[in-house]
Symmetry: C2
Subunit: 201 residues, 2 copies
Amino acid sequence: MDKNRTQFAILGMLSLQPMSGYDFRKSAGQCLGYFWQESYGQIYPTLKKLLEKKYVSRQSRRSKGKPDRHVYSITDKGLKVFRAWLDLPATVEKKRNEMLLKVFFGGKSDVSEQIKELETLKETNEMVLAELKEIDDWHVRNYDHHALTPYWLITIRFGIHRISAMIEWCRESIEILRHLPKEAVASVPDPISFYFKSRKE
Amino acid sequence: MDKNRTQFAILGMLSLQPMSGYDFRKSAGQCLGYFWQESYGQIYPTLKKLLEKKYVSRQSRRSKGKPDRHVYSITDKGLKVFRAWLDLPATVEKKRNEMLLKVFFGGKSDVSEQIKELETLKETNEMVLAELKEIDDWHVRNYDHHALTPYWLITIRFGIHRISAMIEWCRESIEILRHLPKEAVASVPDPISFYFKSRKE
DNA sequence: CTGATCATGTAAAAGGTTACATGATTGG
DNA sequence: CCAATCATGTAACCTTTTACATGATCAG
């Protein structure tokens, strides 16, 4: 069994409901969008492979003009493989945050631009936070409607915590940038080993 | 100019100090590790390309037994390219969190295993948090030693905020899992559209 | 009438990991 | 004496993005 994760994202969504590749893209965007994303270049070839392995079955519906609509359902075999994957420990994602990489090296040449960017980021995140809170509320009100609700709540709250942290970080960072010393500070001869003395002390 | 980001991570570190591929791996691990990671399979080929483009220069030192040590320095040309990149807007990373993907679909079959995992995650993060706080303190005490200190503080505080949020999320999620209804709840006919009614209301 | 949405898919290129090869020195 | 660290690199593989192709229908 291979460990391509796209297939498990698809199997997972199919375990909730049969759907097409297009449906998957849309509903995954809404259900998983905050922590999982897939592009069509992954989805369609993966569905093909899943069909070959008999992890899913396919019903085609003719339509005029549009391409045929292919609706996929998970098979018992697929469900078994999916549940086995759930029991495996999750691999830790490689961390890559280009914004932070730029900040570490001093960011944009113009400090007022840096501040403006953080303000925009803060506002964007405040809007997303409001959305997530609405979804959260709705799940609390409808806690009993689906066995997975507690898990859906947990994932949404991950988003709420993370975004709240981001907003607070933006606020603090804007403060730091506003009170930056006007004059450039002298550089020490060996900046990096200097930076990391703290870890050895 | 291409947009491979490994080259900018390398140029950035070289803008602080000349170093070898091996040094980069090590010092980037300490300086950037929390938000940026590179493997050797990327580092050495990228250094080669940077040399071809004359963004870096190389001094070789013979050593017996070990391979020759190649120390790279950033050139004026390289510095110009790097600064131009800093001024460009950062691309947003694709979100992928396998742990959350598993949680969304109910996670491991055994709930006590789920709780145990979250407890371990919480403890790991508490240790990392303590480390980050130490580095933070050190930078506050040595604020004047390097012109980039405010930016280094900002990146570290990003980590502090994010990890604190993670710890709080672990705590809350463990609570939710401990109070899970013992009996499985009835499934509604169309779970996904049901899930997302909230967004349309 | 124009842009979004519906709907499928492919191919080439880029990006990234992993395992391998080599082998001396150093610290516990 | 064993494991880690020093130190460079390659090759095969896997993963992911992007651009392309096609074209109807629907809402404003």
